[in-house]
C-alpha cells in the first residue's frame, strides 16, 4: 500500500508530548477527514453513494489515538474510524472506493459505506452489529501474548456499545487474561437518539473498567495531545504486561448519526451549537496558529489541498465500474463449493475462476 505524504504509517517516537510537526501532520489528516465527511454527506444526498456515517467532532480522538499506535498493532474499528485508517497509511482513494463499493474496493463492494477493511495495516473488517469487534480485539491480543509479539490491539466503539454483550465479555476476558488491549470508547454523547445519560447510570463510562479489575481513564477527546498521551500510556502499559485500559474519550457527534438520521427529532440546535465551540479541528488550528507554526494562509492551503484530493478521489471512484457479477460468489469460502458454482452459473455470471477465489 503506497502513499501518503500527509499521514505516515509510523507514529512518532513514544512520548506523551506530540512534537509540533506531528501536530501539523495530524491537522492535515483531520482536515482531510472533515472535508471527506462533508463531501460524503453531499454525495449521499445526491444519490451518488448509498449511505454515510460522519465522524465530524471526533477527529482529534481518532487521529490522536491512531498516532499513538505502531505498525504491528491491530485496529478493530466500528464505522467512524476512517481517519484512523488514514493515519495508518491507507490511501484516501482506497477509502473513497469503499464508499462506492466499486471494482477497486478492497472489500469488493461487499459492504455499506464506512465498513472498511484494510488487511495490510491491520485494520480489521468493520461490521454493523454494535460491539462485536470488542471481544475480537481481545482474542487477537491473546494471540499476541501467545506469539510474544510486542504489540497491542485497540478496539474502537461508542457510548452505546458499552451496553453490548461484547463489551461485557470483552472487558471481562481482557481483565482475566490481562491482554494487551486498549478499549477506546468514543463517547459522542448519543447512540442515535439515546443520550448518554440514558444509556447507563454510571457517572462515567471509564469507571466501568473497574468491574473488570482494571483502570479506566477519561480524556478530553477534543484535545489531540491529551488523547495521544492517554493512548500512548495505555499502549506502553499493555506491552509491558500491565494489561488492558479503558479510555473514554469525551467528544460530541456534530453531525447526524448517519445520512438516514434526522437529529432534530431528538436534540436541540443549541446543544449542537455549543458543542461546535469545542470543534477539535479548529482547536488544533488554533494551537498551530498561536505557536506560530502555521499562519491562516497555511491553514487555508491545507483545506484547499484536502478539497482537491477529495475531489480527485471522488472522480476516480465514481468512474470505476462495479465489481464483476461473478465476484458475488467469491469469498463465501476459500474455494467455491459445487453448490455455489451451480448458483453462479445459473445466475449467468461469467464462469467463476476455478479453485481459490482471489
Amino acid at each position: 500500500m503506497a502513499e501518503s505524504s500527509v499521514t505516515p504509517a509510523r507514529a512518532p517516537p513514544e512520548s506523551v508530548e506530540l512534537p509540533v510537526p506531528q501536530v501539523e501532520n495530524a491537522l492535515r489528516t483531520m482536515v482531510l477527514a472533515r472535508v471527506l465527511d462533508e463531501r460524503a454527506i453531499a454525495l449521499q444526498r445526491q444519490g451518488r453513494i448509498g449511505f454515510y456515517a460522519p465522524h465530524s467532532g471526533q477527529e482529534a480522538a481518532l487521529v490522536g489515538s491512531a498516532l499513538a499506535l505502531r505498525p504491528p498493532d491491530w485496529v478493530f474499528p466500528a464505522y467512524r474510524e476512517l481517519s484512523v485508517a488514514l493515519v495508518r497509511g491507507v490511501p484516501l482513494q482506497a477509502i473513497v472506493d469503499q464508499l462506492w463499493g466499486n471494482v477497486n474496493d478492497l472489500s469488493k463492494g461487499r459492504q455499506m459505506p464506512n465498513h472498511f477493511a484494510f488487511r495490510q495495516v491491520h485494520f480489521v473488517s468493520a461490521s454493523s452489529p454494535i460491539g462485536t469487534q470488542i471481544t475480537q480485539a481481545v482474542g487477537a491480543a491473546m494471540g499476541m501474548q501467545r506469539r510474544k509479539e510486542s504489540a497491542v490491539t485497540i478496539a474502537y466503539f461508542g457510548d452505546g456499545a458499552t451496553s453490548s454483550n461484547d463489551f461485557h465479555a470483552g472487558l471481562n476476558f481482557a481483565g482475566v487474561f490481562r491482554t494487551p488491549t486498549v478499549f477506546f470508547c468514543q463517547n459522542n454523547q448519543w447512540a442515535i437518539s439515546l443520550p448518554r445519560a440514558r444509556q447507563t447510570q454510571s457517572t462515567t463510562l471509564a469507571e466501568k473498567a473497574e468491574a473488570y479489575g482494571f483502570a479506566g481513564v477519561v480524556v478530553d477527546g477534543n484535545d489531540l495531545r491529551a488523547v495521544y498521551s492517554a493512548v500512548s500510556d495505555a499502549r506502553r502499559k499493555a506491552v509491558e504486561g500491565g494489561g488492558p485500559t479503558l479510555i473514554e474519550a469525551q467528544v460530541y457527534r456534530l453531525g447526524p448519526h448517519s445520512t438516514s438520521d434526522d437529529p432534530h427529532r431528538y436534540r436541540s440546535d443549541r446543544e449542537v451549537e455549543e458543542a461546535r465551540r469545542g470543534d477539535p479541528v479548529h482547536r488544533v488550528e488554533e494551537e498551530l496558529r498561536s505557536c506560530g507554526a502555521l499562519d491562516q494562509a497555511g491553514i487555508d492551503r491545507i483545506w484547499e489541498e484536502a478539497r482537491s484530493r477529495v475531489a480527485q478521489a471522488v472522480t476516480a471512484a465514481e468512474s470505476a465500474g462495479s465489481p464483476p457479477s461473478a465476484s458475488l460468489f467469491e469469498d463465501v469460502f476459500a474455494t467455491l463449493t459445487p453448490r455455489l458454482r451451480e448458483e453462479s452459473e445459473a445466475a449467468g455470471t461469467l464462469p467463476p475462476e476455478e479453485g481459490r477465489s482471489r
Partner: protein
Amino acid sequence: MSSLTLVQAINRGLAEAMRTDPDVVVLGEDVGTNGGVFRATEGLFKEFGAERVVDTPLSETGIIGSAIGLALYGLKPVAEIQFLDFIYPAFDQIVSEMAKMRYRSGGQFPCHVVVRTPYGGGIRGGIYHSQSTEAYFCHTAGLKVVVPSTPADAKGLLLTAIHDEDPVVFLEPKRIYRSVTGEVPDGDHRVPFGVARTVREGTDVSLFAYGAMVPAAEEAAAVLEKEGVSAELLDLRTLSPLDESAVIASVEKTGRAVIVHEAARFCGFGAELAALLAEKALYSLKAPVARVTGFDTPFPYALEQLYLPNTEKIVAAARAAVRAA
C-alpha cells in the same frame, strides 16, 4: 377505512392496541422521541408517554429479556428490534426462553411477547441491513412467525399478534414500507393466523411468496398471463403456523410450484414448502419444484440486484415449470 402505507398501517395498529389495552407497552431502541428509525412508532411517545413507549439502552438481550419479564408478569410487550440483522444478541432469549417458556413450565407461564422487526433487502443496506432469516425462527418450536405484505394485513396481523397468547416474531418487509399503499380498516381489525391469502387464482402453476416478494410475484403472474400461463399466487402471511392445506390444494390443482423468498436457498423456508410437496403432493407434481431465492452467499452490497429474486427470475422459473410437463 383509510389509505395507508404499510408502515403507517403498523403505526395505526400499535396505536389502536395501546388505546384499547393499557397492558400494551412498546420498547426498543429509538422508539420514543425519535419515533423509530423507520417511523413505525411515530407519535406513540407523545400520546402514551415514556412509561409505555420505552427507549432502551443499546441491548437486544435487554430488550427481549425484559419484554419476556413484562409478559410473564402479565403485560403485553411489543418489542422492536431495529433491524432483523441485529436480533442475534437476543437470540438466546428468543429461542431458549421466549419459545420454550410455556412448554417447559407445563403451561404455567405463557410468554406472549411480540417481536417486531424490519427485514429484507432492496434498500441498498448491504450485508447487515438486508437479511431474511425467517427460517431460524420457523425452525424453533414455540414461535409463531408472521410476515404481512399489504397495509391491511400489516395492521390486522399485528393486532392478532398483540392479542395472541403465544410469542410472535413479526417480520416487516421494510422495502415496501412506503412503496405499497392500500385501504386499511379502522379500529380493531384482525387477520387470523394460519390462513394464506389467495392473491390470484390460476391453473397452470402455483407461486408461493410472502413479504416484499408478493408484489414481485404479482407482477410475474401478470407477465405470465400475457404469455397464456395462468399462475395462482398465494401470500403465505403466517409462515408458522403454515397454511399447509392451502399450499397443497393449490399444487393439487396446478401441478407446478415456484417458491419465492429473499433468504438464502440452503435450508431456507422454501425447503420446507418443497419438502411438504414432496411428502404430501408428490403425485400431483408435474414438474420439479422450483425455488427462486437469494443465493447461498451473505447478502451483498454492490451486487444486490443480482442477488435478489425479481419478476424476471420468477417468470423464468414458472415458464420452465410449465415447459417441463
